[in-house]
Symmetry: D2
Amino acid sequence: MVGGVQHVETQRNHVVRSATPDVDRDALVERFIAVRRRTEELAARLTAEDQMLQSLPATSPTKWHRAHTTWFFEENVLVPSGAPYVDERFRLLFNAHDDNVGPRQPRPRRALVSRPDAQAIAAYRQQIDSRVVERLRTARALDLARVARLVELGLAHEEQHQELILTDILHAFSLSPLKPAYAPSAIVEAMTETPMERSFQRFAGGVSEIGADAGGAFVFDNERPKHHVFLEPFELGTTLVTVGEALGFIADGGYRSPSLWLSDAYDWVQANAIESPTYLRVEGGRAVVFGLEGERVAHPAEPLLFMSWYEADAIARYLGARLPTEAEWEHAAHGVSHEGHFLGGAFHPHPPSGTGVMQMFGTGWEWTSSGYEAYPGYMPFPGALGESHGKFAANERVLRGGSLFTPPGHVRPTYRAFWPPETRIQASAIRLARNVSG
Amino acid sequence: MVGGVQHVETQRNHVVRSATPDVDRDALVERFIAVRRRTEELAARLTAEDQMLQSLPATSPTKWHRAHTTWFFEENVLVPSGAPYVDERFRLLFNAHDDNVGPRQPRPRRALVSRPDAQAIAAYRQQIDSRVVERLRTARALDLARVARLVELGLAHEEQHQELILTDILHAFSLSPLKPAYAPSAIVEAMTETPMERSFQRFAGGVSEIGADAGGAFVFDNERPKHHVFLEPFELGTTLVTVGEALGFIADGGYRSPSLWLSDAYDWVQANAIESPTYLRVEGGRAVVFGLEGERVAHPAEPLLFMSWYEADAIARYLGARLPTEAEWEHAAHGVSHEGHFLGGAFHPHPPSGTGVMQMFGTGWEWTSSGYEAYPGYMPFPGALGESHGKFAANERVLRGGSLFTPPGHVRPTYRAFWPPETRIQASAIRLARNVSG
Amino acid sequence: MVGGVQHVETQRNHVVRSATPDVDRDALVERFIAVRRRTEELAARLTAEDQMLQSLPATSPTKWHRAHTTWFFEENVLVPSGAPYVDERFRLLFNAHDDNVGPRQPRPRRALVSRPDAQAIAAYRQQIDSRVVERLRTARALDLARVARLVELGLAHEEQHQELILTDILHAFSLSPLKPAYAPSAIVEAMTETPMERSFQRFAGGVSEIGADAGGAFVFDNERPKHHVFLEPFELGTTLVTVGEALGFIADGGYRSPSLWLSDAYDWVQANAIESPTYLRVEGGRAVVFGLEGERVAHPAEPLLFMSWYEADAIARYLGARLPTEAEWEHAAHGVSHEGHFLGGAFHPHPPSGTGVMQMFGTGWEWTSSGYEAYPGYMPFPGALGESHGKFAANERVLRGGSLFTPPGHVRPTYRAFWPPETRIQASAIRLARNVSG
Amino acid sequence: MVGGVQHVETQRNHVVRSATPDVDRDALVERFIAVRRRTEELAARLTAEDQMLQSLPATSPTKWHRAHTTWFFEENVLVPSGAPYVDERFRLLFNAHDDNVGPRQPRPRRALVSRPDAQAIAAYRQQIDSRVVERLRTARALDLARVARLVELGLAHEEQHQELILTDILHAFSLSPLKPAYAPSAIVEAMTETPMERSFQRFAGGVSEIGADAGGAFVFDNERPKHHVFLEPFELGTTLVTVGEALGFIADGGYRSPSLWLSDAYDWVQANAIESPTYLRVEGGRAVVFGLEGERVAHPAEPLLFMSWYEADAIARYLGARLPTEAEWEHAAHGVSHEGHFLGGAFHPHPPSGTGVMQMFGTGWEWTSSGYEAYPGYMPFPGALGESHGKFAANERVLRGGSLFTPPGHVRPTYRAFWPPETRIQASAIRLARNVSG
């Protein structure tokens, strides 16, 4: 199946047409430099050999992420205004899967690209950075608005790849017998310092407005148009499902109880001999988890992260609940502050004080029960950036809220991520929902 | 994977609890005998060897359908009131996949059951029929209500298998070099006599009521509860997509145009080298189709039948439209008479006179864009007949309206069928839908 | 993969050119009728439904064997002399895989041929039988010699399929939960009445003559030409490996001991979770075996039958020995009477009196260590019957001596059968061999 | 799949026990240093990223080869005499597949070992080199003989991996869109300067002596014992099959002619859509080949290299010949000088002057028709170095004579290499053989 970059490439195309009338040139240059630098900072913790790792067909080497995000600016911002390619062959190597731009290196073979090497990629990044900054500094007003939109898109795209750099290297390291730590850090303490009691917050239902407006700040086109849905009354758990609850599920034989699973989900469990979430194993009754900080014993009160939609659905059922629909989630999310991100390696969860729904942003991508579909009235744009319907797939589920791997400021209440239901390696989480009688 | 009997078995479990206070004993006996006889009439056109055929893991031999539907009455109606099994080993052979009833013959190996032979199955059917009739005739009032509900369920279940007998033998015959005809008939004339012009009928949208009430006539539990949805304004094509339109799609290279397909759909097209709907091939610009009546040239105005959801979605897009949601379909279907079935081998379509949405019942199961999910507030019943959530799967789409293979009287506006999106062998059809500005 | 019919078809082509100058017309007619009748007698124990069974891609339904052997005479004996086909479509259905005769029903789909039915096949057989007998009765001398050779070939071919009828139905029945018996019989007593002690008989080695002469009785072309090999001194076990020895192998963990297996053999054991020969399971320390007589407890002194070459090789190693080369086997077999066949359902093993190598013919096909290759100097004939090199495969092992399923009189010391090393369903056996110092 | 290292590891175990009474200490140290240095010279042409490449499950990264050959000396020479491991974890990472030494990194995941990095591997090599040299310098006489045997084995093992470094990087580079050249060199001229006419040299046959003596220079144990075979008269082509002959085979539709192929070979051709040897494609009637020197047009007179046994067998048949048996090859090879290796990047073929069989050593590994089996009388040694029968596989063919990738001095007339018949990436070649009437 597809995965990370499909996700990313789809998102890329879901760009919005909205007018961005007054571009703050300096602010955009500054943001451009900051986002681009952050990618290199993430990569700097890795050796040239680490940056070659591709442990699944659906993941990519760090080196490839660094080059691909750069090629994106070259192809979409620089070349259309007449700039020559730095190296024509890079199109072939670092294009993702946009058939409009010609042939490309097959995805599962990205690890076979030993040349250009890490240093050459760094040089490529610097060249493109200079040119883009130059372009932004010198564009005339009308042109600037157009270029700015493309640069904004390129930065959102790069932020998605920043999350994938972490996601993908975590998986690669998980298969190394040496179990390397990407970044031993304060994560452990942060995750466990605030055990929270869960209650359920009730929502009355009725007609609700979902999705993003045209105009305004940057959004992907799959967030649009704003439209109405009717919600029956429901309630949401105030906190995410915990590692301790997953231990209970496992100890109660949850992975061997067909009645807790959808039928294809249980086929998947059996065919793949799944016994626990992918980075969690039970040892002496405790959960040993693998993360960017290496291997450690998890606190039972930590949120459970990294599980497939199939598992999320089964665990929710085991806990007497269900997953929320994406409309329910968004309805609840409007008005919740979306701060609380993974910043500079440290994780700052929401304080447990509130009575509201907590941990909605920046902890784990929350699986919803909703299949990923275009919103009613969604119309793909013509042209290369808009060939988006081809990037929808029939069997993907929507996730909301971002994770501790998501760059700060990247998500918002209307933001829609999506992955196939068997995806195990994304930093996903489980929010419980329940029906209530009206 | 899943397919016919999952479908059926799920439906079986989706039985409704509704009180059926005043049972008309004679009418029920009569209906029981009529439905049971119809199964044998469908089988009577086939040799003992034909009845052994299983051409896909997801299909079943006719002989198995005949025995399984019989076992269903034995297991659920007779045995609970103390009757001994006719043959204990039949449980193993003719159970579908209800893990509560113990081990069973693996589905793909149903064709390996040469014994008991066709004659022995006929005898088994007669024994069970006598016992069920006896049971209905002698049950006391309170008991009768309960037994009647189970018999109603068994008959609905048997009607589903009647459709599968036709569906499955059609596929088996399609692989025979002799291309046998199940029943040369008036189908051809019926299908082609009434070319209809398509227009689009508009619906205003707003909050709409969907699903079935508790109480009243028999419904499956997946049709419940009645609930509300919000519909944006939309319009539906008054007629189904035709063979001629499919020829246009093929001639325009539709099967080689990634932009018309969802991404996993196009993967499927390429991996399976799909070039046309499964029972249709193009020869000299005309469509040669295979059906129960054998092989013949189709009229361009006939409805296109037998295609996957993937193809339905792509063809709708090619025609500048989309598939309806199941809520849109049901909204439009309320008030439409659901007559017009395949009766005794002849097909009587709705007359083209009306200005309304036509061919909604009994022509082809209409693929909707909706994933198959439980309705909000749906609660599975405890016990063997209610273990239904395990029978939902993550990747199925809802179909509505029944087909020319569906027994008369079997469907209704709230009836929900569901198959995985790659299913090609069901008598499915395409209804076009479009957004309209409010 | 290959299997039964490749075997057969290869053999068919390996026909010898030898002159058969003086044909005894009546004897040949009599033999023709007897062999043809024996096929129908084997099938007569099976229902129409049984004759539809195909449980592996490499096996075939009884009905197909009956029709295919008949088509063989039609295609090779009757049609070349101008006879019209009984039904042109039968070529498509009952041709094996001779690309010279045009397209054919794909092998794994033979069970999908429900029509013509069993009765129609019987009629087809009778028609062809009459015509062949007529042809033999009326052919003039020179013509008779040629026709007789083809008929001899057709009869040898039919005898191979007689063995396959038993082999294939045994596998199909083994998958039925009812475990039907093909023919409850005296097999059990016969197999167990004569426990024999094994000793090793020594052979001095040196240059030995292997293979068949041109001229003389019918042989397949893969038995030719006669040629020389040099044998180092060796010795052979006087009796076959027993069920009791297999129980010891299993109890000692033989299936989990990589050092006993070739590396690809052990991969195969693990990938397929093999724990015992295919028709043998251990229950309470005893071997329960499935055979044409149904399921029963085996006597430890019975010969072990039905195992792959991989298992034969490993069990021989476990017993401190190895498999013989085909040259060693043939060297030992010359001079041994090849009587002792499975006749009319009863098995008559060689008496244990002798000091020689026993059970060499008609008990189980003895796996040799030799890959199946053409003999030095082998030259394929031109024309359809001689296109034989294409029927050799790279990875097959030679078996010698015939089994209790082999028709009486079919094998001889030079006869070479061959199957891929993973073949588990042939009536194979293990003969031990050892090196000795000269 | 099997492949390179199985090959190597098998060979490792096939060590001979022969007494090596008088060890020349200085010569051995010198040879040790030279062989070890050659590995590093081969790797020095590659970047850190290149050394991570693993393009097939059966190939290995250069980095792994460098570490594994080092671990081999540590495990077998140093540790048994009490030395501590440099790093215990390296056993896990750099062990090949010797189950005696505990768990190991799964073969297809060798590319996932980013740490230790290339520099750390260099340091590891230097440490082990110092210790081995020290061990050789200080060992007392009796001990020295034993250690010397192990070091000799380790050096032969390392030479095999030197060939694999070239073989494996060639395959990895072949998949890079940049088509990098490992070493642009004089290969092209060398290969094409000496077109040779082929004749056939006749051998009378009879009893011939094959294999190696106990005692004497180092041989692998699969070369023993010396034994007799009987050869029918035969003749060998004096030169290898050429690129031009392969072009003829392709142009004549050889890859689409089932009669030229063994049946499983043709299945393989079709299943994998094979159209030419793996590193050769036809462009405008000429052969474009990829080699360590990059991509270039081949001269028609060059020997054809890099094809599977299946292809070699088919091409030989197309040319009216067959592959030799390994006994025929060895019979012919005794007395032929085995010089003419790939030395320092340049290839020096045998002069075409002679009337004898040419190009027998150091051009391409010559596929023989012989399955790889133990010689009669072969007895595996007890203990870790002797667990060899487990490393034989059922379906491998013997190759003889070494290739241009083989280190100088590594092969000899009795040397046996072996690969599965579908192996396409080894530097293999085709020698023609024919039967002659005695």
